[in-house]
């Protein structure tokens, strides 16, 4: 009865494969499995309905149009306690994505610094980076989060005794307050356009003269950042300065301590993992490639940039995407310090307020699931494109 287990699957529909001849045990097992899943599901649904009826809980998502009745400490969207609950869902999602994006960006930048230490020829720097990576890989992120929040940012002095920089920036237990430019939305768009110009220019240049400094990604990023800042500074009609007002601080842009703790904890923690991925990918590139670069007369940094990195990137995309998806899921721990992400707003606040446990947790799990699956799908698409490009050459 043994068909070879690794033999390629015959090109027939799944129905034919399910009821394939000669695999009677398989047919029985699969029918039993389907019965167990369907029967178990039916049993759970019936028990749950009975339980809900006994407790007098109505089901359905109608409660989402009710006014929220609570405020959130941090929101990128306009939200008040009078806004409907479905708006709170979107506030939670944007906050989660915001945290994840900030963590990814700073984590990746920090990882490049760590890995350049780790792979440098200096034993001291290499050892220091190895210690950093080992420390962060072997301790829970929740510990880091609680440390940064309770032992660092929440333990900062009060507004009265906090740090003040030139009466324009304040750092205390209410958070970080910095001046914020006031400018029209056209100004923001212009700044963004100017920021991408060096990137596009360097992309063009890379084709003509790959070894020139103008073709470097890191330099063009820095130039873009500088251009962005210049345009903002020129276009700003007024700077909104934070000023002390009574016991608090008014005006300016505020970054609450929870946000700083989360971003710091996430980016330091993630940087250790990303640095390990980078190291693996870079060391995985064949040594002959470096020697070939040297034979062509390239300098060390040019070899890294033009020969090693492009090959390492190809290897690193799948595990890096995995890491990024993990980071999106990791943001859920911020409910431990009461930062309003989707987990805290829907999974805790809305759940306790409305008592709609099943609906709330369904929303939470499906939000994370959809984000994760989307990210994984995009990664597959990108990997496929890279592979196709590699074959074409």
């Amino acid at each position: 009865m043994y068909a070879h287990p690794d033999a390629p699957l015959p090109k027939v529909g799944w129905v034919r494969r399910t009821f394939s001849k000669g695999d009677l045990a398989g047919v029985f097992i699969q029918i039993a499995l389907v019965l167990i899943v369907v029967g178990g599901g039916w049993y759970v649904v019936s028990v749950t309905t009975a339980n809900l009826n006994a407790r007098g809980i109505t089901t359905g998502f109608a409660f989402l149009s009710r006014p929220a009745g609570f405020d959130v400490a941090f929101s990128l969207l306009p939200f008040t306690s009078a806004s409907p609950l479905w708006m709170a869902v979107f506030v939670g999602i944007t906050n989660t994505l915001f945290l994840a994006l900030a963590g990814m960006l700073f984590g990746t930048l920090l990882a490049f610094a760590v890995v350049s230490f780790r792979l440098s020829k200096s034993p001291l720097a290499s050892g220091l980076a190895a210690g950093y990576i080992g420390l962060f890989r072997n301790t829970p992120i929740l510990l880091h989060l609680l440390f940064w929040y309770f032992a660092v940012f929440a333990a900062l002095p009060s507004v009265r005794n906090g740090l003040v920089l030139d009466e324009a920036a304040f750092l205390n237990n209410r958070g970080l307050f910095v001046p914020w430019p006031e400018l029209a939305w056209s100004g923001w768009i212009a700044a963004c356009l100017f920021a991408v110009i060096p990137m596009i220019a360097s992309r063009r240049l890379r084709k003509q003269n790959p070894t020139s400094n103008f073709a470097r990604i890191d330099l063009s990023l820095l130039l873009g950042l500088a251009l962005f800042a210049t345009v903002i500074a020129l276009a700003a009609t007024r700077w909104d300065l934070p000023v002390r007002a009574g016991l608090g601080i008014r005006g300016g842009a505020q970054s609450i301590p929870e946000l700083m703790a989360v971003v710091l904890a996430m980016c330091t923690y993630a940087s250790a993992f990303i640095a390990e991925l980078l190291r693996g990918a870079i060391q995985g590139v064949d040594r002959g490639q470096t020697e070939a670069g040297q034979a062509l007369g390239l300098r060390g940094s040019a070899i890294s940039r033009l020969v090693i990195f492009p090959q390492a990137i190809r290897v690193i995309i799948p595990p890096l995407t995995n890491q990024y998806v993990n980071m999106i899921k990791q943001t859920a721990i911020v409910s431990a310090i009461a930062f309003p992400d989707v987990m805290l707003i829907i999974g805790k606040t809305v759940l306790t307020q409305t008592g709609q446990a099943i609906e709330s947790l369904t929303i939470v799990t499906s939000v994370y699931l959809i984000i994760s699956l989307l990210a994984a799908g995009l990664m597959h698409l990108y990997a496929y494109k890279l592979e196709a490009a590699g074959h074409r050459r």
Partner: protein
């Protein structure tokens, strides 16, 4: 940034161990770039290291019994030594802590015994030993064995709870994960579909959400009166989650086993299960050992999330101990100590995994 491609980790490690002090300095300043990096590393080391050592060692207080024994010029390690009982056992009654010790010993023996038996291919016996020891260990922890006094879940806590969560989670999710991995490679479409959907779902959702579902929704899903206690609900959540990661780690190994060895086993007339047990899985698990160790380390770290559903493991007990106002501000001491314990467990797991790998490579050479 200059990086060297294609150097093996082991090679670098061996090289570094052999170099002398002079060589160390010479290498640190081999060229201009390396010299700059060395100086930067030195600045970081001295800038962070000296204040840290001052806090943790030179200005710290190690001896004493009360908060007043700390001069507060540095770390107050008296706090840790005085709270050691709470950090280890939570609020478990002092005179009953031997029950926890017995439970820990049973768990360790069970894991060790199961591992030894599994290496001698006695899989069924290994699984039986593991489940028996886990059952006994769990009941010893709760004091439900004869001659023991029951202790409520709310009193459990500390490092012992972290270890209990780990020892139960690791074995159950390994067994379940192995089945799922086989399921995802099965040629029977229904089995394959169900395992794939399960694994992808569990990997797409954060553990906290699963813990919330397990703690809040599980009682709704079960007939009233059949409510499992809080610890069991959390355990179900952790096992369901971890098994999907175990499944992916094992599947990577199964995929990497060469087809020829399987064909050889079938040519010898071995049955399907014997082939899996004696030929495929031993190779697959060796290949996937790094992934498995990573999953186990992640499990240890993930157990800290149970504090979000009201169970106080090592981190939770640390939080509670820190909250004791009579000791004043001992936040740094508490988190530092908890971090060291987690680090030792996870690093220990890495070392054990490395040893197993080296042993295996030696035997197979």
């Amino acid at each position: 940034m200059t990086v060297q491609a294609g150097t093996s980790i082991a090679g670098r490690y061996k090289e570094r161990l052999r170099i002398s002090a002079l060589e160390f300095v010479r290498r640190s300043f081999a060229d201009r770039r390396t010299g700059a990096v060395t100086i930067l590393a030195l600045i970081i080391l001295i800038g962070a290291g000296i204040p840290f050592l001052r806090w943790a060692v030179f200005n710290a207080d190690f001896i004493g019994t009360a908060p007043t024994d700390c001069r507060r010029a540095g770390a107050c390690w008296v706090f840790i030594s005085q709270k050691a009982g709470q950090l280890g056992y939570g609020f478990y009654p002092l005179e009953l802590r031997w029950q926890v010790d017995i439970s820990m010993i049973l768990s360790a023996l069970g894991l060790l015994g199961a591992f030894r038996l599994a290496r001698r291919y006695q899989i069924a016996l290994a699984v039986a030993i593991y489940f028996l020891s886990t059952f006994l260990s769990f009941n010893a922890f709760g004091g439900r064995l004869p001659w023991m006094t029951p202790v409520a879940v709310e009193k459990w806590g500390g490092l012992s709870l972290t270890l209990l969560l780990f020892s139960i989670g690791v074995g159950i999710s390994f067994c379940f994960g192995g089945l799922l991995a086989m399921g995802r490679r099965s040629k029977r479409p229904v089995i394959r579909a169900i395992s794939s959907v399960y694994v992808e779902f569990m990997r797409g959702v954060p553990l906290i959400a699963i813990l919330f579902v397990a703690v809040i929704l599980l009682p709704l899903f079960l007939p009233s009166g059949a409510g499992a206690d809080l610890f069991l609900r959390i355990m179900v959540g952790i096992c369901l989650y971890t098994s999907s990661y175990m499944a992916e780690a094992i599947r990577a190994g199964l995929d990497a086993v060469p087809t020829g060895t399987r064909e050889a086993a079938y040519a010898l007339g071995m049955s399907h299960w014997n082939t899996q047990k004696l030929v495929v899985f031993p190779q697959a698990l060796t290949i996937s050992l790094p992934g498995l160790i990573n999953t186990m380390v992640a499990l240890v770290k993930d157990t800290s999330l149970v504090i979000l559903v009201g169970v106080h493991d090592l981190l939770g007990s640390t939080q509670l101990a820190i909250g004791d106002v009579t000791w004043g501000n001992v936040l740094w001491e508490g988190y530092f100590f908890a971090g060291i314990i987690y680090f030792m467990i996870c690093f220990g797991l890495n070392v054990i995994g490395h040893r197993i790998e080296i042993n295996f490579n030696k035997r197979n050479r």
